[in-house]
Amino acid sequence: MLRLLVIPLALLILLAGAMAWSGSAAEKRADFTFVSIRDVYTLDTNQMSYLQDFRLAYCIWEGLYSYDGMTLKPIPGVASSCDVSADKRVFTFHLRPEAVWSNGDPVTAHDFAFAWRRMLESPGEYTYLHYYIKGAEPYLQAYQAYLKDPQHTPKPDFKTVGEQVIDDHTFKVTLSDPVTFFFDLMAFPPFFPLNQKSMEPFAKRDPVTGNVTYDGRFTRPGVVGNGPFIMTKWDFKRRVRLAKSPSYWDRANVKSNSIEMVVVEDPLGQFLRYEAGEVDWLPNVPSDVGPELIAQHREDLRLFGGFGSYFLSCMSQPKLHNGQPNPLADMRVRQALAMGFDREPIVKNVTRMGEKPASTYIPPDIFPGFKVEPGFTFDPVRAKKLLAEAGITGNRLPGVSFLVRSSSPVEANTVQSIVNQWKANLGLDIDIELIESKIARQRLNDKDYEIAIADWIGDYPDPSTFTDKYRSNSVNNDSGWVNQEYDSLLDQAQKEADAQKRYALLEKANRMLDVEVPIIPLYYITNQYLFRDNVRGINLSPRNMTMLKGVWVDHDEKLVSGGNG
């Protein structure tokens, strides 16, 4: 009998041990807490590309410029002022002397030069934004060529790049073309400075080329930043905790003493935590509960237009990946498909989060002064006529199927609805190919698809963040659509210093996309936040960007609605 008890007893002892081994002491609730639906991928500002990564980057670092928390207009950050040349190509930034790193070092022009140079030598997803700087792209290519074959290729000279440290507090940047939104870029994490000294212990030097790479672990708690907060804790896939930085130059305007990002991947858990008052802000309302909350007219649910759209990417090259002729290469077929289904039932019955049906690639109201004419809407009669003109007689588009990512049920239902409508309205039978998302991504890269759902969210407040995607040489141009006139319009716009003339050129280019439809607009993205009325400092700008520096909870505010926190 006793021996039988040994097993449960041993289990219990092990259990106690394991609990002690894995547990961690609970901390006081932070002044402001919010849910992130996934953990940060990287806090290396040179490598990041995800929203939640950027959100924390704005806390830990600061660029030459920063964003106003409510208007998202660029405002001086580390730079207190900037001289711009008449041709808008030379920017001389004057760094404020009171800006310091969290280790006490002053923030100097060298820190920017270091981070920006690293961006070209160990490129990341947003390196292409540095190509506006004179000599940056040729330097990157020459340097990468040198890394591949150091014996026979000369090491390029960094002096050829238009980034010049005049003195500790003066940084001169020369661009190859005028960039009207350059201050916005200066506030964007790929242009943030880095403290080289503190990264030195993580450096690894290649003995042959002298190329330096850094172990990603330099971004763990204790990472040296120059922003409003310092990171005090990062438990992988659990939480990131920030504390107000005592050395930040503008600390008087940092509203919360501590901020915690809680990682909750499960939609139900995200919502329950908010309802229980454990978190103050849900930046992504789960699609399972969103429609319910809309029906309840919850006042703490904030729905607002986003900074991009969903669309059907159509392969537009003359030949399909397998060499067959591509029926979608005929513009009329794509136009017929665009007119062949009604978007209204999709946003009303499938996506159900207050999305607006789209007829254009760029949402019409996100760039003030930028005119977006309506594109194709539901018109089955005209669509059928176009198909006949294009010589499509049967009920098939030979070789064409619809690629759908299996990870999203909403997306699969959307596609089902579109395909059913095409069948009913145009008599076309299009097969659906359900596929895992990484494979779908790969096939889009390889242009090994015909029709697929895709989306695009802009990065900076200029239409070129959308139009550049469909340049014929852009890596992000999955459609294979090539149009010389489009490219030339973008080139002209890039050289144009006059903002109004520039917009006119981009409007024309954008119109070409909406007419030739290499991408068929579906609906405009919406953002959904849940936060109670006592939360201050969260803007409802389409860009879905929050400067946590100015966010806080006003505990004096009497709550009338939403949750019981």
């Binding site: 097993i7 259990l15 894995s22 890394l147 990603g216 499960d266 858990g269 229980a276 991504r441």
Partner: protein
């Protein structure tokens, strides 16, 4: 016994090496790349820089670097998706959590499972047998994402008896522990019941009763020991599975355990992390199967572990 142990342990490295290579093969031929995220494509230079950094230009480069590191330094390398974290970091932070939760679930599951199974066998055909059998059947049939979500909504969401997910205290462990224990409990109850019925009707039980031993002593001491053997062999793989975490339960209760990494690492094509999790799971499975064999010998002295076959 010592020779048996030594022999079995000596097989471990070979088995693990074979598992590593087979896993690597599947990981490498799977389409899709660990680099590049979301809708934005990495340009060629950035992709190549990353491939170089992670020793992933070619299968040969990968195999030249990583296995050596695993063997000599026990280092699985950096995660290809979460560059700030090495696979070892991830395993170190996630494994203890899954082990703690798994042990808790396994303890409840085994104790209650054996108890229910035994009582059901003793009162065979009675009310208790029928109800427990139905409950057990439901326990096996309902997928854990349903039970977990129900437990969370009712006991944490509506009644506020427990915290809504997270990890850090004993209270955090109870709901996910229950959710996780249901399946093994159900299996164990069924296994115990079946073998108990077998044992109860055997000759030695009748002899023991005839000798005047009380019913409870016979059942709990003589019968259970024999009836426990099939449960024990189930416990080996069950322990390896439970202790390395459950994707569903961890996700619903937002527990930062190892289970999520099995699924996510594959979705992300995080090659180094896939290999790390597979190796941990394999090691657990091998170890627990070994422990089960030893346990056999302890429970039933007739079992000779050194015997061939």
């Amino acid at each position: 016994m010592a020779r048996f142990l030594a022999w079995r342990l000596a097989q471990f490295p070979l088995i693990l090496a074979i598992i590593y290579l087979i896993t690597f093969f599947f990981v490498w031929v799977a389409p899709g790349s660990p680099f590049g995220q979301g809708e934005r494509q990495l340009n060629k230079d950035a992709r190549e820089a990353l491939e170089q950094k992670f020793h992933a230009r070619s299968a040969a480069q990968f195999l030249e670097y990583y296995p050596k590191e695993v063997i000599f330094h026990g280092d699985f390398g950096p995660s290809m998706q979460y560059a700030e974290w090495s696979v070892n970091d991830i395993l170190k932070s996630a494994l203890p959590i899954s082990v703690a939760l798994g042990l808790f679930a396994l303890t409840i599951g085994t104790l209650l499972g054996v108890l229910i199974g035994t009582l059901a066998a003793v009162y065979r055909g009675g009310l208790f047998d029928w109800t427990s059998l139905s409950i057990v059947l439901i326990g096996i049939s309902i997928p854990s994402f349903v039970t977990a979500a129900l437990l969370l909504s009712i006991f944490a969401g509506a009644l506020h008896w427990f915290p809504i997910g997270g990890w850090g205290s004993i209270r955090d462990m109870i709901l996910p522990g229950i959710a996780l224990s249901l399946a093994p409990m159900a299996y164990i109850a069924r296994l115990t019941r079946v073998s108990m019925i077998d044992v109860i009707s055997s000759d030695f039980v009748r002899t023991a009763r005839a000798k005047g031993l009380s019913r409870s002593i016979v059942i709990w001491k003589h019968c259970l020991r024999n009836a426990f053997l099939p449960v024990l062999s189930y416990l080996g793989p069950a322990a390896a599975g439970t202790l390395t975490g459950s994707f569903v339960v961890e996700k619903v209760f937002s527990i930062p355990g190892l289970g999520q990494h099995f699924v996510n690492s594959i979705q992300n094509r995080d090659r180094t992390l896939i290999l790390g999790t597979v190796m941990v799971y394999s090691l657990f499975l091998l170890t627990f199967n070994l422990l089960v064999d030893i346990g056999y010998a302890l429970v039933d002295p007739r079992v000779d572990v050194t015997a061939k076959g």
